[in-house]
Symmetry: C2
């Protein structure tokens, strides 16, 4: 089992490698990956050896298709993962229809909500159940990951409800930081960090 | 002007520092920040010296309030930034109502769309203009950043339209990678990387 920080860097390596493959590149050296990601080449080589990546070819570097295969394997993205979205408002609906998930083997199975106007309907051909139907639906469809797009006031209580039902992985899109015990994994997404990077450049009026 | 990679790390430092301040901590050493972020302490110290941060106190470390003030200054987040959202569908509406932006001095001024049913209405008290009204609206409200939440098919053309109107900073939430020339800054956000981190943990059935 590798540290959380290596997993963090692993998704960065994978994303950049996928971009390079799309651009038609075949190999890469660790110092080139350093230029693209900003992660020191020594850290990259250390990570690769911990992750079990074979040494790169002295003349050509690492083969990109090989790297992607190894990383997909480690990240467990080869298996299809069933996910459910909780809180089918604006953001929840956008995620129910997002094609980016299916392409990476994430199947959005259904949604959960408490609003009578929404429960029992379908969005993008996926059913929306009432929150209190979750116990049997999670088992029936083998759902292991919950995406939270509920109003901030109910984030903690909805998280606890699904934790008690055995869910151990959450993608939290609400602005509330969830206090969690051990044995659960929460990934928080916040759109303001990318915006702050933009303001740095606009503020200094600089080009790339 | 610092490198893109340092700006990338800067937003990570700032986010972690804000969390620590919220938890009531007052100082931090670079080796503690390394444990939290995974960024080597040598890189942290080098970044801090490039960013003009005063050396930490030998016994106590760096003062967190001081660090946040310096980083806010550098990132230009002290000034209010006017932004507009283009494509007021599910995702666009979620962003029009997102409280996380106002808290960090980002003012969502308005939206742009082409759908007659949406143009001329308001969402969360903010007006939605037709795309062809952008030339005068951007100037009138001093808008410097555009958030793209349009369908993938039109990402490139809408990007080009705003680039030609002088916009140099874009937050791209569509799955299309925009080919951009120099002198423009695009931040791409993709929800599948955080999901891939989750699958690593669920797959290995490990606790934090
Ligand atoms: N991370 C980001 O960058 C970002 C961006 C936009 C919005 N958000 C956040 O996403 C969340 C949703 O935003 P929105 O614009 O879609 O809001 P919304 O009000 O349109 O949708 C909320 C939905 O949650 C449902 N709901 C309420 N209580 C519930 C409960 N106990 N169990 C299940 N469902 C429940 C409501 O019925 C509604 O359908 C908010 O917390 C918002 O702050 C985050
Ligand atoms: N980054 C992510 O993780 C993520 C998540 C969900 C959705 N998305 C993406 O966000 C985008 C929007 O998703 P959605 O569910 O809100 O779609 P949607 O169809 O609900 O909304 C699209 C809106 O764009 C408008 N539009 C179409 N052409 C336009 C043009 N030329 N100029 C201005 N407006 C135009 C439409 O009228 C509509 O209001 C899609 O590209 C989707 O793939 C990304």
């Amino acid at each position: 089992i590798v540290s959380k920080k290596i997993v963090e860097r692993l998704t960065i390596y994978k994303r950049e490698i996928e971009k390079l493959i799309k651009e038609g590149k075949e190999t890469i050296f660790s110092y080139e990956l350093e230029k693209i990601t900003g992660i020191p080449a020594t850290t990259i080589r250390k990570d690769f050896s911990i992750l079990g990546v074979k040494l790169g070819h002295v003349k050509y570097g690492y083969n990109l298709i090989y790297l992607k295969r190894v990383f997909d394997e480690i990240l467990g993205v080869k298996k299809p993962w069933n996910i459910a979205i909780v809180g089918i408002g604006n953001l929840g609906r956008a995620l129910m229809g997002y094609t980016g998930f299916e392409k990476r083997n994430f199947n959005v199975i259904c949604g959960f909500d408490i609003d009578e106007k929404v429960v029992g309907t379908k969005y993008n051909n996926k059913p929306i159940f009432h929150l209190n139907e979750a116990p049997q639906i999670l088992k029936e469809y083998d759902i292991h990951i919950i995406v939270l797009t509920v109003p901030s006031e109910v984030t903690e209580s909805v998280f606890k409800y699904f934790y008690d039902l055995g869910i151990r992985a959450f993608l939290n899109l609400t602005p509330v930081i969830i206090n969690c015990s051990s044995c659960v994994y929460v990934e928080n997404v916040d759109l303001t960090s990318p915006l702050e990077k933009l303001t740095y450049y606009v503020d200094k009026n600089i080009c790339n």
